[in-house]
C-alpha cells in the first residue's frame, strides 16, 4: 500500500483538484502535512494545488474573473502556519462521481479479493460493490473476475500472519524435494491464481517464497515469530541468484508475454519467425515444467543438458500412454 508521491498527468491533476476542494470544505481547517498524507502526495504538491485553487473561479457574467467569482483562502494561515482554510468557494462542494471504468476497476479488484479467507462469501463485499455502482456516473463497464475458492491452507496462514505465530508444514519444492518446514510467516502475496507465502524459513535461515498449493499438513504453533524488521522482504516473487541457469529458447512471439518473469534481459532476435531469447531460471526442474506447459510455443535451443531434461520429461509423460488402452497399471 505504498503511496509514493509521483508526478501526475493533467487529467489526474484535475481529478485531484476536484476531489481536494470538497475535502477542504468538509474539513474546514487542515494542515498541509495532514492533507498531503491523506491524498498520498508531497506537501509541495498540496501547496501548489492550494495556490491554483485560490486563484480559480468563474468567468462570471462579464466574462472576466471578478473577486466574488473566485475561490478565496485564508492567506495568513496558509503562508504563516501552513494551514488551509477556504473562506469562499464557487461551483463545487461535493465529491465527484466515479467514471464507469473507475468503478469497474475497483469492483473487479474486489472480486479478486473475494479469494481471501476473510472475504469469502462476504456480504460486506457485495454491499461495497453496490455502492461503487451507485457512485458511478454511468453503469460500470462489464468487467468481472470470477470468485475463486481459496486454498484451504490460506485461512490458517492468514491467521498466522495476522497474529505473528510460527507455522509448520510439509513442503514439496520445485525440485521435487519434500520435507517438514518451520517458518515465520511474513506476507501473503499472490500472482493471478497462484498464492504464495513469504516467510522466514528456520530450516534455510532465510526468507523464502512458498507456493501455498505445495504446502500441506499445516500446523499453527503458539510460538511467536522472530523480529524480521531488518530483513528485506522482496516485493517480487522471482529473485535472481548466482546459481541461476541461463537457457536460450525460441519462442513464438504471441507467447513471449508468458515468459516475462523469466527473461534474463530484453534482447531478442528473430529466427525462423520465432524470437530467440535468454531465460534465467533457478534450475532445470522449473524449466521442464514451463516448456512442457507451453507445448509447441517454446523450444529450448541450449544448453544441451536443458534440452535433454525437457525431452526426458516429455518422453516420461508420453510413456504413460504407451499402451493404447491405458491399462498399464
Amino acid at each position: 500500500m505504498a503511496r509514493r508521491p509521483t508526478p501526475l498527468k493533467a487529467p489526474d491533476k484535475l481529478v485531484f483538484l476536484l476531489s481536494f476542494v470538497p475535502y477542504l470544505l468538509e474539513q474546514r481547517v487542515v494542515d498541509v502535512s495532514e492533507a498531503a498524507k491523506h491524498f498520498g502526495m508531497s506537501e509541495e504538491q498540496i501547496r501548489d494545488a492550494v495556490r491554483l485553487i485560490a486563484t480559480s473561479g468563474l468567468p462570471g457574467s462579464t466574462g472576466t474573473y471578478q473577486p466574488n467569482d473566485l475561490f478565496d483562502i485564508d492567506w495568513d494561515s496558509f503562508e504563516e502556519d501552513d494551514v488551509i482554510v477556504i473562506v469562499h468557494h464557487v461551483a463545487i462542494d461535493d465529491a465527484p462521481r466515479l467514471s464507469a471504468r473507475e468503478a469497474a476497476a475497483l469492483i473487479a479488484g474486489l472480486q479478486y479479493l473475494s479469494a481471501l479467507p476473510e472475504n469469502a462469501g462476504s456480504a460486506s463485499l457485495a454491499s461495497l460493490m453496490g455502492k461503487l455502482t451507485a457512485g458511478a456516473s454511468a453503469a460500470p463497464s462489464r468487467l468481472a473476475v470470477a470468485e475463486t475458492e481459496a486454498d484451504e491452507s490460506l485461512t490458517p496462514i492468514r491467521e498466522a500472519v495476522a497474529e505473528g505465530r510460527q507455522i509448520e508444514f510439509d513442503y514439496l519444492n520445485a525440485r521435487g524435494e519434500a520435507g517438514r518446514r518451520r517458518a515465520d510467516p511474513l506476507r501473503i502475496i499472490s500472482q493471478d491464481a497462484d498464492w504464495y507465502l513469504q516467510a522466514y524459513c528456520h530450516t534455510r535461515e532465510d526468507v523464502r517464497n512458498f507456493r501455498v498449493d505445495r504446502m500441506s499438513d499445516l500446523l499453527l504453533t503458539e510460538e511467536p515469530i522472530g523480529d524480521h524488521s531488518q530483513v528485506d522482504v522482496p516485493d517480487t516473487l522471482f529473485q535472481g541468484s548466482d546459481t541461476d541457469l541461463d537457457v536460450i529458447v525460441d519462442v513464438s512471439p504471441t507467447a513471449l508475454p508468458l515468459l516475462a518473469d523469466y527473461l534474463a534481459d530484453s534482447r531478442s532476435r528473430e529466427v525462423d519467425g520465432r524470437l530467440r531469447v535468454t531465460l534465467r531460471l533457478a534450475h532445470v526442474h522449473g524449466l521442464k515444467r514451463l516448456v512442457a506447459g507451453l507445448p509447441g510455443l517454446v523450444t529450448v535451443v541450449a544448453p544441451a543438458e536443458a534440452r535433454a531434461a525437457v525431452a526426458e520429461w516429455a518422453e516420461g509423460g508420453l510413456a504413460g500412454y504407451d499402451d493404447a488402452t491405458g491399462q498399464d497399471r
Partner: protein, 343 residues
C-alpha cells in the same frame, strides 16, 4: 493585421497549465444552468481566453476544446451538449454544461474506514497500467470524503496481471460500445479466422480472460479466449451497438462455471509428486489407493497444456479427448527437444 500582432505579444505570457484550464472549464460548466456557448467558453474561460482571437479564426482553440471535452468525459464527468430549441442542428448554437445533480456523488454513497481500506487493497491488485490508473483515480475521488482508512491491511500483496495484448483495446471498445474486428485461432481449425464482434463483457474465469460478444459472422453470441486472439483488435468505423444488460458479466461467469462442471477428468497422479499435491487440492473426488483424482475443467485445450507441464507425474485416464490432447502435446515437446541421432 492587428490580431496577429496581439497574438504575438501574448507569446511572452506564461502558459496556463493544462490542469488549470481543465479545472476552470469544469467550474464554468458546473456553474451554468442554461449552458455556455462555445464562443463564450473560448472567449472567457481561463486557459482559452488568453489565446482567444475575437477577430479571427480560433480553429486551434476549438480543437483544443474538443480534446478537453473528451478528456473530461473520460473521467466520468457528465459534460452535456444542449441543442438550441430555435436553431436545432446549428453547431454554433450548441450549449455545454455539467448538471450538478449528475456530477455530485450521491449522498447515499458513503464509506466506512474499513471499506476504504478494502478499496485501497482492491486498487493494489492491478499491475496493468490503465486499470491501475483508473483505480487510483477512483481512490482520489473517494478521499474527498475525508474518511481516513484504517491502517493498511498488513500482510497482503495480491496481484492480478493482464498479459493479453487484446485486453486494453477490448476494454476500451466495451466502454465505447464499439464493434471490433480481430483474428481468432480456434483449436482444431487450421488457421486463425477474422471475426467481427460487438464486445459485451470481459471476464476472468479460471485465470483466463474471456470476451463475450455478439459475433456478426454467425449472428449469435459467442465467448472467446483473449489468449487466442492473434494480432491487433481493430475498431470497425461507424459500428456501435446498444448497451447490454447490466448483469451480463455475471451471467457469462455462471455459464462458464456450468461448462466447467460439465467437464470431468479422471487423472492418475504419481504419489509424492507436485501433481498429486497441487492438482489434488482441486480434486472433487479422490481414490487414494489407486492414486486417481477427479477434476472439473473448462477448456480441454487449456487444461491439456496445464497437464502436459506435469510430464510423467500425471496420466489422463478419461476422457479420451483430453487424453489424446495431452499425449499429442507431450509428443510435440519431446519431438522438438529430442536430439537427432535416431534418423
Amino acid at each position: 493585421m492587428i490580431a496577429s500582432v496581439s497574438g504575438a505579444s501574448r507569446k511572452g505570457e506564461p502558459r496556463i497549465p493544462v490542469e488549470d484550464r481543465l479545472f476552470s472549464l469544469v467550474l464554468a460548466l458546473l456553474a451554468t444552468e442554461a449552458g455556455l456557448l462555445k464562443s463564450e467558453i473560448l472567449s472567457s474561460v481561463r486557459g482559452y481566453a488568453e489565446r482567444y482571437d475575437p477577430a479571427g479564426q480560433n480553429a486551434n482553440l476549438e480543437r483544443q476544446f474538443e480534446r478537453d471535452k473528451d478528456d473530461i468525459r473520460e473521467l466520468g464527468i457528465p459534460l452535456e451538449t444542449v441543442e438550441s430549441p430555435d436553431r436545432p442542428g446549428d453547431n454554433q448554437a450548441l450549449r455545454y454544461r455539467i448538471p450538478k445533480g449528475q456530477y455530485d456523488l450521491p449522498d447515499a454513497v458513503r464509506f466506512t474506514p474499513d471499506e476504504l481500506t478494502l478499496l485501497g487493497l482492491a486498487a493494489e491488485v492491478w499491475r496493468e497500467a490503465s486499470l491501475s490508473a483508473d483505480s487510483q483515480r477512483a481512490l482520489t475521488k473517494l478521499r474527498s470524503l475525508g474518511i481516513e482508512p484504517r491502517e493498511p491491511v498488513i500482510g497482503y500483496a495480491p496481484r492480478l496481471r493482464v498479459r493479453d495484448a487484446a485486453f486494453e483495446p477490448l476494454r476500451q471498445a466495451l466502454d465505447r460500445r464499439q464493434t471490433v474486428r480481430f483474428h481468432y485461432f480456434k483449436p482444431g481449425e487450421g488457421a486463425a479466422r477474422e471475426r467481427t464482434v460487438d464486445p459485451l463483457a470481459v471476464v476472468l474465469h479460471e485465470a483466463r480472460w474471456h470476451l463475450h460478444g455478439f459475433d456478426h459472422g454467425v449472428k449469435a453470441p459467442r465467448t472467446f479466449l483473449l489468449s487466442r486472439i492473434i494480432g491487433p483488435v481493430e475498431a470497425v468505423p461507424g459500428m456501435t451497438f446498444d448497451p447490454p444488460p447490466a448483469d451480463i458479466q455475471d451471467r457469462i461467469l455462471a455459464e462458464l462455471d456450468e461448462l466447467r462442471l460439465g467437464n470431468v477428468a479422471d487423472l492418475a497422479v504419481r504419489a509424492g509428486s507436485d501433481a498429486e499435491v497441487r492438482l489434488g487440492k482441486r480434486a472433487v473426488l479422490r481414490d487414494e489407493d489407486a492414486g486417481v483424482i477427479r477434476l472439473h475443467y473448462t477448456d480441454a485445450a487449456i487444461f491439456a497444456d496445464e497437464l502436459s507441464a506435469y510430464g510423467p507425474e500425471v496420466r489422463v485416464i478419461a476422457p479420451v479427448e483430453l487424453r489424446d490432447a495431452v499425449r499429442d502435446r507431450l509428443a510435440a515437446v519431446a519431438g522438438a527437444h529430442r536430439d537427432r541421432g535416431g534418423a
